[in-house]
């Protein structure tokens, strides 16, 4: 699989069809994968693909990486889940489909965090998204890897969804205490925002100070405002790549809020993010028949 990938990358670069291949490579000790940007055909051998390839590289297609954009047309090595994010980026006019080449990788799942890798991919070290994955055989310009026979469960299952169900059943006080405890650890490093391919605002609301909407201090008031706003802005857009939670140095379970909202959006508006780049994100459109029994 890796050889086909390298071959394809080499070919694309040699033919000049793309100027850079955004993919995964090993770190020096070969314990972790890390994003690599291959610009010379000769370097295509650096590309790897394995269950440690957790990063959602579509992040590097966004405007904020202007120096990557400056390299020229990119090809991106993407898992099915990453392609969902690309679809949202396209639907939000952040990139044009024809401006990128997608090398889709069939995928049996990745690890939740790279540190968990012990040489074998076991269900217990896989994130919830992989257990519910319906894009193991991605749609892309080129698909690399053998076809994978896996049927996603009809109802979302796994730790994230179990926890959401648990929280839904608990009382307001319990929920408040749960989040209070988690958000209190937030250090406002904004890794969740920076790693999120869909947080592409040129100036984030957290950095707007006239007025200061979100207090910059890492106290509970500022932390709650930040985390709620971040979750809200991803409503109907988040494709559950899980990068925010993985990046969080404080282990805040951000997938819970994101997926809760994804479930709400699915129930209320019948929308699942990332499956059709031609459909508008649900929060910028409306339906006359939207639920309104909560409005007096």
């Amino acid at each position: 699989m890796e050889n086909t990938l390298r071959q394809k990358a080499k070919e694309l670069l040699e033919k000049g069809e793309v100027k850079v291949v955004i993919g995964y490579g090993w770190n020096k000790q070969k314990t972790h994968t890390t994003p690599v940007f291959i610009t010379k055909p000769g370097d295509a051998g650096k590309l790897v693909f394995n269950p440690l390839c957790v990063n959602n590289l579509s992040l590097y297609l966004t405007k904020k990486f202007s120096d990557i954009k400056a390299l020229g047309k990119p090809a991106i090595v993407a898992k099915g889940c990453d392609i969902k994010t690309i679809a949202v980026l396209i639907s939000e006019s952040q990139i044009k489909r024809e401006d990128i080449v997608i090398i889709g990788m069939t995928c049996n799942g990745v690890v939740y965090k790279q540190e968990l890798w012990k040489g074998e991919l076991k269900p217990e070290i896989m994130p919830t998204k992989c257990h519910n994955c319906d894009v193991r055989n991605p749609l892309a310009d080129f698909v690399i890897g053998e076809k994978i026979d896996f049927k996603a469960p009809d109802e979302p299952t796994g730790m994230v969804f179990d926890k959401i169900k648990g929280l839904d059943k608990s009382s307001n006080t319990e929920r408040w205490d749960f989040w209070f405890e988690h958000f209190s650890r937030c250090t406002k490093c904004y890794a969740c925002r920076q790693i999120c391919p869909l947080c592409y605002c040129e100036r984030c609301i957290a950095e707007k100070n006239m007025p200061q909407w979100i207090e910059t201090s890492a106290h509970q008031r500022g932390n709650i405002a930040w985390n709620l706003k971040r979750a809200m802005d991803l409503a109907g857009r988040c494709t559950f790549c899980g990068e925010c939670e993985r990046a969080c140095p404080a282990n805040i379970p951000l997938n819970l809020v994101n997926q809760k909202l994804a479930l709400v959006v699915k129930d209320a508006f019948g929308h699942k993010a990332g499956y059709d780049e031609k459909v508008h994100p649900p929060m910028i459109v409306f339906n006359m028949e939207d639920e309104e029994d909560f409005i007096k």
Binding site: N209, M210, P211, Q212
Partner: protein, 277 residues
């Protein structure tokens, strides 16, 4: 406890609207002890607080020879300058400083002085100007070249008028092409060009320049053309600052902390710095 982040309180005694969005405040410290002992040198800066909005950095625009008060001139731009600009006469604001180094005016005794400023870059130069005027006999010729985008954008209009009347000062005023009004009597052109036309002699001279980075770049070239060496030219570097005391880590240009080792540098020093502007 000695709290290096605690500002002095000061009352705004006077406000002068210099240009659209540009104001000059005259500040008097509330604490009489501070009022009497406060001293600084031309080129130094401070952090000005609008309580509730934060602190902003700009130079002290008055001359150290003017005692009992300080002045600052700023353009309304961000959160703090916006809040400052909303304050009125009699209101209280904060001041922390003076910080940084200064123009070595004492070393300039007996020399000719050329002062070149653009737009809102005049305030630090103004401090030097008044300082020199107050010690006029210490210096040779004084030439001031000042330009702004439009006539309206010229700051210290009253003082410009005053300086233009002084027989021992040569003042050249200019506005960018298109910025002139029918009544405009000064030059029309960009500061570097006007400077070249004024052609001050580099002999036994120092030049001070302050203004937007692009202007400084071309002023330095013009000065070189006129025969000024980089050691003869002084400028001030401006960077965003939060602490002003060499700790918060944002004003550095490479390994040089502007708040401590700056903001005044010779052009020669600037050229030796890391390219981090």
């Amino acid at each position: 406890m000695n709290n290096i982040y605690l500002p002095y309180l000061a009352t705004i005694e006077d406000i002068c609207e210099e240009a659209p969005d540009v104001k000059t405040f005259r500040l008097v410290f509330k604490d009489p002890k501070v009022r009497d002992t406060f001293d600084f040198k031309a080129g130094q800066f401070g952090l000005y607080s609008a309580f509730g909005a934060g602190e902003s950095t700009f130079c002290i625009a008055s001359s150290p020879t003017q005692k009992g008060y300080i002045q600052c001139t700023f353009r309304k731009g961000g959160r703090v300058t916006g809040a400052l600009s909303d304050l009125g006469i009699g209101d209280t604001m904060g001041f922390r400083g003076p910080y940084g180094n200064w123009f070595p005016i004492d070393e300039w005794k007996g020399k000719n002085i050329v002062l070149i400023a653009g737009g809102i870059g005049l305030p630090p130069v103004r401090s030097v100007i008044w300082n020199c005027i107050d010690r006029r006999k210490d210096f040779g010729d004084i030439t001031i070249v000042y330009g702004a985008k439009t006539v309206a954008d010229l700051v210290y209009k009253n003082e410009l008028a005053e300086w233009s009347k002084m027989s021992d000062i040569k003042l050249v005023q200019a506005v960018d092409p298109g910025g002139e009004t029918p009544e405009w009597k000064g030059k029309v052109g960009f500061v570097p060009t006007v400077l070249e036309q004024a052609a001050p002699s580099p002999n036994n001279s120092v030049a001070v320049t302050c203004g937007p980075p692009i202007m400084i770049k071309f002023v330095l070239q013009a000065l070189n053309k006129l025969g000024f060496s980089d050691e003869q030219v002084y400028t001030t570097l401006e960077n965003k600052m939060k602490c002003g005391v060499g700790k918060c880590g944002r004003c550095n240009v490479g390994d040089i902390y502007i708040c401590k080792e700056g903001p005044v540098y010779t052009a020669a020093e600037v050229k030796r710095m890391y390219n981090d502007f």
